[in-house]
């Protein structure tokens, strides 16, 4: 069972030190926090992987993942990380993820029929990479969701 996803990008014009007067220029709160996406047991997985300098790692897919289905994959990286994803749609997809630190990680996501995921660190410094993934259920099927009580203005009804 999965919670909501939320994205909020807020800009502070000219002042890097404060957020009080900043205006959001990109926000997406499309999914109500009480609408939870359901997935089956064993069809989600995640790990934090330490990539040594010039090191690499093969990411283990969820144990019950059906590769004929779409896998939502999300990667956060504390440094510059190379990710290679093979899938039925694209034989090989290679991207560089740029992050600076845990306080300013790089991010990457995709949603496709994944066969393998390989991470590598082309730099001379080791860092952590966080991988989260789940098999996406049928989003048009209401049985894919659990609907909880809605909250309006902080009051649950």
């Amino acid at each position: 069972m999965f919670n909501f996803r939320q994205f909020s990008f807020v800009g502070a014009n000219g002042d890097v030190g404060t957020t009080e007067f900043s205006q959001p220029f990109y926000q997406s709160f499309d999914v109500n926090p009480n609408v939870k996406l359901k997935t089956d047991a064993g069809k989600n997985a995640g790990d934090v992987i330490y990539l040594a300098a010039a090191g690499s790692a093969t990411v283990q897919l969820p144990i019950n993942y059906d590769t004929a289905e779409r896998l939502f994959l999300e990667v956060l990286s504390e440094g510059i990380c190379k990710i290679v994803v093979t899938s039925a749609e694209h034989s090989t997809s290679t991207a560089l993820i740029k992050g600076e630190s845990s306080a300013r990680p790089g991010f990457f996501s995709t949603c496709q029929r994944v066969s393998t995921i390989t991470l590598s660190n082309p730099t001379a410094t080791g860092f952590n990479v966080q991988v989260s993934m789940f098999e996406l259920p049928d989003l048009t099927d209401s049985d894919s969701y659990t609907m909880g009580p809605y909250a309006f203005n902080g009051v649950s009804v």
Partner: protein, 149 residues
């Protein structure tokens, strides 16, 4: 114009399992709050209505943009779409391409998140008639970047 980018993409996809990385105190803790800030030099928002196989090339918002710039991109998709990037590998020589698909509905939109560099071209392609893609993208930089000071 100089912007700061405060990003809190809350990847709260998982609940409770001990091996869950989002329970860890590593990256995930900082993701959930407001503490993550990306310095943003330039930004753009676009909304792209796409039918199947329709393509749009995204042009980053600055004519002096160079290959090595730090590009940040968020796509919200209702329907099916693909982000394709082409550019150079870490060695600045080998060519690489990445394909990031996503799929979503109005109740649960699909997302593509990307923080990258060495990319020379970004292309969004619809994979289903009636797809709507909202794109936010920009150029980020390190704190010490002279253009940001």
């Amino acid at each position: 114009m100089i912007y700061s980018l405060f990003a809190s993409p809350s990847f709260r996809a998982y609940q409770g399992t001990p091996e869950n990385p989002n329970d860890s105190s590593l990256i995930a803790d900082s993701i959930g709050g407001e503490s993550i800030r990306y310095n943003l030099l330039y930004k753009k928002n676009e909304s792209l209505p796409l039918d199947d196989t329709d393509s749009r090339v995204l042009t980053l918002p600055e004519s002096t943009f160079s290959l090595t710039e730090w590009s940040i991109m968020v796509l919200k998709v209702i329907g099916k779409a693909r982000l394709t990037t082409t550019g150079k590998d870490y060695d600045n020589t080998s060519n690489i391409s990445a394909y990031m698909d996503t799929y979503g509905t109005s109740r649960y939109p699909g997302y593509v998140l990307l923080s990258t560099y060495n990319v020379s071209a970004f292309t969004v392609t619809g994979q289903e008639d009636g797809t709507v893609v909202e794109v936010f993208y920009g150029v980020s930089c390190a704190d010490a970047d002279a253009r940001y000071l």
